[in-house]
Symmetry: C2
Subunit: 333 residues, 2 copies
């Protein structure tokens, strides 16, 4: 039924070893043998069984990227970076989604434990720091975009605390004194870091923290709308709103626009991620851009290094971010 290397060998009148050598471009094969094998391969429509090959070689040249869902549009750049880097070294990147379920995340990591892939990258871990730290000791595991406190694992991310600080500080520089924060109930380390940066900036400016200006919601647009509404109904309204994601900011601006609030004047808005829609939405949104492509590229390069070498790099690398200023903070055009 299935065509194997044996069939090719028979058809080409050589041994399986010779076929294997031809296919793997090894030396010590005569031109005639090469011809005969290639002809047989062609005629039989043979393609080598990776399971046999990978089992023997104990490597698959495949890396698994584990994300929550493909919805978060800005993952796509990260994945592109990962793929480019992997491709250069002959690796493929496969993507799998956890749908925010830690059990399913563990199930997917099973592919790593069971050698179905050579390595894995977690982009939005739901498992706890300790568990991941233990796994990283034993397997070729890395993290990207997100980091975890007290987790010994190769990690490529940005300095989210600093980014939160920078964004908030920019709003302060514009003379704003009551700055709201829209963040999420479910805490990822990145959102915690961004919130901490926000708080530090206020502190450095000598502004006491007003907890009522912080809204804990969800990751989606609706949550931004609700959050903005909540803040705007305060006796003492904010004059600027920083959100931990553009999606939330867009929801917030939607509320503002439909309630006669002048975006970029009455209230300034600052987002995070620089998603495509942040400069489609009118007014254009000021935001923090993180180097998605580069993070993806870097994490794969370093992970492959780990796979190939016998010492394991478990450092955290923080790549630089950048503020993009647009109409929502009264800048740009």
């Amino acid at each position: 039924m299935n065509i194997t290397i044996k069939d090719v060998a028979k058809a080409a009148n050589v041994s399986v070893a010779t076929v294997s050598r031809v296919l793997n471009k090894k030396t010590n094969v005569s031109d005639e043998a090469v011809q005969a094998v290639n002809k047989a391969v062609e005629e039989l429509g043979y393609s080598p069984n990776f399971l046999g090959r990978d089992l023997r070689k104990s490597e698959t040249k495949r890396i698994l990227a584990i994300i929550a869902s493909t919805e978060q549009s800005f993952y796509s750049e990260v994945l592109r970076g990962m793929q480019d880097a992997a491709y250069l070294q002959g690796y493929d990147v496969l993507i799998a989604t956890t749908r925010d379920d830690p059990e399913h995340e563990m199930h997917l990591l099973g592919m790593l434990f069971s050698k179905a892939v050579d390595g894995a990258v977690l982009l939005a871990p739901k498992l706890d720091s300790h568990t991941i730290s233990e796994l990283a000791k034993k397997y070729q595991l890395a993290m990207c975009l997100e980091r975890l406190e007290d987790c010994e694992i190769l990690c490529v991310t940005i300095d989210n605390e600093r980014a939160g600080y920078d964004a908030t500080n920019y709003l302060l520089g514009k003379g704003r004194r009551r700055i709201g924060l829209l963040t999420t109930e479910i805490r990822s380390q990145s959102s915690v870091d961004r919130e901490n940066g926000y708080k530090r900036a206020l502190k450095d400016a000598g502004i006491p923290l007003d907890e009522s200006l912080i809204y804990y919601g969800d990751y989606d647009v609706e949550s931004g709308t609700k959050g903005c509404e909540a803040l705007m109904k305060l006796a003492n309204k904010p004059d600027a709103i920083f959100s931990i994601s553009d999606t939330i900011s867009i929801g917030a601006m939607t509320y503002a626009l439909s309630h006669g609030i002048a975006v970029g004047k009455d209230v300034l808005f600052f987002g995070f991620d620089n998603i495509a829609y942040s400069h489609m939405f009118i007014p254009h949104l000021s935001t923090v851009e993180q180097p998605c492509y580069l993070q993806g590229k870097a994490v794969i390069e370093k992970l492959i290094n780990n796979i190939k070498s016998d010492v394991k790099d478990t450092n955290t690398y923080k790549l630089p971010h950048r503020l993009i200023l647009r109409e929502s903070t009264g800048d740009g055009s």
Copy 2:
């Protein structure tokens, strides 16, 4: 170095066959043996090597979804449907991106040829119909969202021609007579079908086709903006614009809004896909919704059927679409 089933067998003082039986929950194993094996597995931190297993069983319980990139946000629902359906039958769905490169698409299909996955689904094929048709004969291959002319392959999609007809017809029903079309230079079958539907609707209404009202651009927002500009600079401007994707529509509306054109009044806009941003953008966009989740679910169910059975279903299934009416056509609120 690596812990194998042999190590477990030794530790549990049984044969590898018994270990395998315990791990696969087969009957005919004594309680003591089960206990001993489980204890050994636990202590050694053993997890079975999938390569060995898959090679022996000649199945991986993995299906590859091949997409162009994860950027197109509306894929995420399709993938969710795929995953749910797969999960129910003990399969995993892995995602890989072609980045619009037919060669890379073929490379990824190599995983199918080489038994690294049990089946594959193409969501945006770049290879030609004939090639795919041939491959589908030999391998467990299916298509979703897109179809191809003269291609004998299992396919789940919608009736794009009918959807294009319906959208155009709705605009006609609103009394519009000069309806523009924003579509793409690079032709996917779905966009061709939508365009054909548009043309048929005009014909049925007795309106002669005006080629100058059709703009061939790209898939992105900028292209929508440019396309709208082009149409609006015509001597004889359109009074409605149908785009083959919401992204394009949003770009088009952006142009209209910034040029004093009353969206939903002067010009009606109709999109396609019902992406998340279509009801975030103000004014909200009327659009054609396709059952993404259901298409994903259906294609996996049918593909697994094919994998399990010995007869191959190569039919095309067209699931129903739905018009969603919002402010951009003067409807909704």
